[in-house]
């Protein structure tokens, strides 16, 4: 992959040109999503001005925030050249257990209950990580397996039961609808997670090492990076975030059964890929992935507002994903060409 040509591995002579190019393309990438967002929102707003009123914008962000959260966790995993297909099931399991915990223990403090959901997710992620890192087994297969296992446990625990808003504490339900300075709390939580993960990936040594692992696992091992440990960490973080998303799911929807979040994994992977995270690892940002989630969610909302039959939505989402990876690929090919040219000039 061309993305392996990050400044860190480029010899000094070519560093500046290469860095300029990579950062430019990186910026173009996130800018591209913002432009796409504008292209989707503007026509919709012209047809139906109510679409850009604060209330509907809030709904837009609120709907995207849970997928965006999962996309952040997925980004950490995908950057290391792995994938976590179990996030939908982890979210479902955590959502059900959190709701059950609140329903069975009416006096539970809010944060403790949410922490319970996070702990469920963390345990699931730890299991995934152990299997991938120590079992030396491809993550696609492991997480496909745990996708089934976690969902099966979810169904077995729920026994067809449903937990309704009536059994949940008001504090939790308020969390799903309350706002700070006009911004929904769930959106704020998502933003905090995005910022923390973004800073970690950008400025921390272990965060940078994730990119190195994804670019070239063998080289990363030889360079002394603890690959297994880092891989385990990314899966734990992805599970932890999915657990948090499960608890927030309860707050947002108020009603939970064992099917919560079924099939969400594909939406999340789609958001990550649209957001410019290379599926073979080594490049991408959490901001891009979160913007990808926002873009996919916005398109769905716009189609509703534009009264395009709901049947078209999935086809359009699929077409969009395909065009995103195609454009990405073409950009990468151009970047590779440009890098070769700049190498030529620096030698001369």
């Amino acid at each position: 992959m061309t993305t392996q040509l990050t400044p860190a591995v480029t010899p000094p002579a070519r560093r500046t040109a290469a860095r300029r190019l990579t950062s430019r393309v990186g910026r173009v990438r996130e800018l591209g999503i913002v432009v796409a967002l504008a292209l989707v929102v503007l026509p919709t707003a012209i047809v139906n001005p109510r679409f850009v009123q604060p209330q509907s914008l809030r709904d837009l962000l609120l709907n995207a925030s849970i997928v965006a959260l999962l996309a952040v966790g997925q980004t950490l995993v995908v950057i290391t050249r792995n994938v976590d297909l179990s996030v939908g099931s982890v979210l479902g399991l955590s959502a059900f257990l959190t709701a059950q915990h609140f329903a069975d223990n009416p006096g539970t403090p809010l944060l403790l209950g949410i922490g319970f959901g996070v702990a469920v997710g963390l345990a699931c992620g730890f299991l995934n990580g152990l299997l991938v890192a120590l079992g030396n087994v491809p993550s696609l297969v492991v997480t496909l397996g745990t996708l089934y296992v976690f969902r099966g446990i979810d169904y077995a625990l729920a026994q067809g039961e449903q937990i309704n808003a009536a059994n949940l504490p008001d504090a939790l339900l308020d969390l799903g609808s309350s706002r700070v300075l006009g911004v929904p709390v769930l959106v704020l939580v998502a933003v905090v997670v995005i910022v923390v993960a973004g800073v970690y990936l950008r400025s921390y040594r272990s965060g940078r090492e994730l990119y190195a692992i994804g670019s070239n696992p063998e080289a990363a091992t030889l360079a002394g990076i603890p690959v297994a440990k880092r891989t385990l960490t990314t899966f734990v973080l992805s599970g932890l975030i999915a657990g948090l998303a499960g608890a927030l799911w309860v707050a947002r929807y108020g009603t939970v059964d064992a099917a919560a979040g079924t099939g969400l994994e594909l939406q999340v992977v789609a958001a990550v890929v649209v957001g410019g995270v290379a599926i073979f690892g080594g490049s991408g940002t959490v901001t891009g992935a979160a913007l990808g989630a926002l873009l996919l969610g916005t398109i769905t909302s716009c189609l509703v507002v534009l009264q395009i039959p709901a049947f078209w939505q999935q086809a359009i989402a699929g077409a969009l994903l395909l065009s995103a990876i195609t454009v990405d690929r073409l950009l990468a090919l151009r970047l590779a060409k440009a890098l070769r040219t700049s190498e030529g000039t620096s030698h001369a």
Binding site: V83, L131, G135, N136, V137, P138, L140, V141, V142, L144, G145, T146, L147, Y148, V149, F150, R151, G152, I153, D154, Y155, A156, A258, G263, L266, V269, A270, V273, I279, F280, P309, F311, W312, Q313, Q314, A315, I316, A317, G318, A319, L321, L322, I325, T326, R329, L330
Partner: protein, 319 residues
């Protein structure tokens, strides 16, 4: 290679265990003709799609869009039937449409060099979306009994359901193609070392493209089978089936990295999953147990070779 053989032996052993415990546990009704008939019907589509998918995965790629192609072909059958087409024309058309879907996947993967995982997650949404566009949320069910009976009656003179007979014939064809032809050897070569395969003169892109086309066409055939079995053409037929098929193929010992695996193992994997499912249903076990068992089997199938390898190196180190 020896690990692989061992895994297939283990699969057959597991199959026998499941069959015997089933036979004892259900007082002989598990292996009765009637039950085996339903077992066969139940795994028909998975068995069909698993055949070309095995080749795709052996070649080091993946196709997650197969269940959506199944849904799209089902929707097309309903739509064209409503438009007054005769079924004799509809069925070949649908298979061609499936092959086209596969070709789109294959072209995006081979010509643009995109990862098949990303491409087929995209077409998973796209093809399912097209199915919804074509048929909406309506169901078409007024097919003539002469066609729908294929899904409920055995091949005359035998107790074998038509879908299983079809899968068996295709299994032989795919088995010969993969294990006894130069095409099959090139599929393994591509999966083991794509660059090496290209330098040894194998037309890598063309082979891969043909595998995706095959997967699309067979998924469309599975769509026909599905539609007539439930005598209902719906856009959401077979949602989520892709994961079950991938699970069956990997359980059969095919390496997700390509280059290793056999069709025999995959067939054993499909039978094992189908047998367990059927057994649990006979025992009135809840379906969630089945979900857990499917997942655990998948995990064991990938962990087992890794563990045997590790034990092997430990032993070598000890001597």
């Amino acid at each position: 290679m020896r690990n692989l053989l061992r895994w297939e032996t283990a699969l057959v052993f597991l199959l026998v265990v499941v069959a015997l415990t089933g036979q004892v546990g259900t007082d002989g009704s598990f292996l009765s003709g009637g039950n085996l008939f339903y077992l066969g019907l139940d795994i028909g589509e998975i068995a069909l799609i698993a055949l070309p998918l095995t080749l795709v995965i052996v070649a080091g790629e993946i196709d997650l869009s197969v269940a959506s192609v199944l849904g799209l072909s089902s929707a097309l059958i309903g739509w064209l039937w409503n438009a007054g087409w005769p079924l004799e024309t509809i069925l070949p058309t649908v298979v061609v449409a499936g092959a086209l879907c596969g070709a789109v996947n294959g072209l995006l993967v081979t010509r643009l060099g995109l990862p098949s995982l990303a491409v087929t997650i995209g077409t998973l949404a796209l093809y399912r979306g097209l199915a919804l566009v074509v048929l909406g949320d309506t169901a078409v069910a007024d097919f003539p009994a002469s066609y729908t009976s294929f899904g409920t009656t055995p091949v005359p003179g035998t107790g074998i359901p038509y879908p299983v007979a079809l899968a068996a014939v295709l299994a032989v064809l795919f088995g010969v193609a993969l294990h006894a032809s130069s095409f099959g050897r090139s599929v393994y070569a591509i999966g083991a070392n794509e660059e090496g395969a290209r330098f040894s003169g194998i037309r890598v892109k063309r082979v891969k493209l043909s595998l995706f086309v095959l997967a699309g066409a067979v998924a469309a055939i599975a769509g026909i089978v599905y539609t007539f079995r439930f005598s209902s053409a719906r856009a959401d037929n077979g949602v989520g089936l892709e994961l079950a098929v991938v699970a069956a193929v990997l359980l059969g010992g095919v390496s997700i990295f390509g280059g290793r695996g056999s069709l025999f193992g995959v067939i054993a994997g499909v039978l094992l999953l189908g047998g367990l499912r059927n057994l649990l249903i006979l025992q009135d076990t809840s379906t969630e147990v089945l979900t857990i068992v499917t997942g655990l089997l998948l995990l064991v199938s990938v962990l087992a070779p890794s563990i045997t390898r590790r034990v092997g190196t430990l032993r070598k180190a000890a001597t």
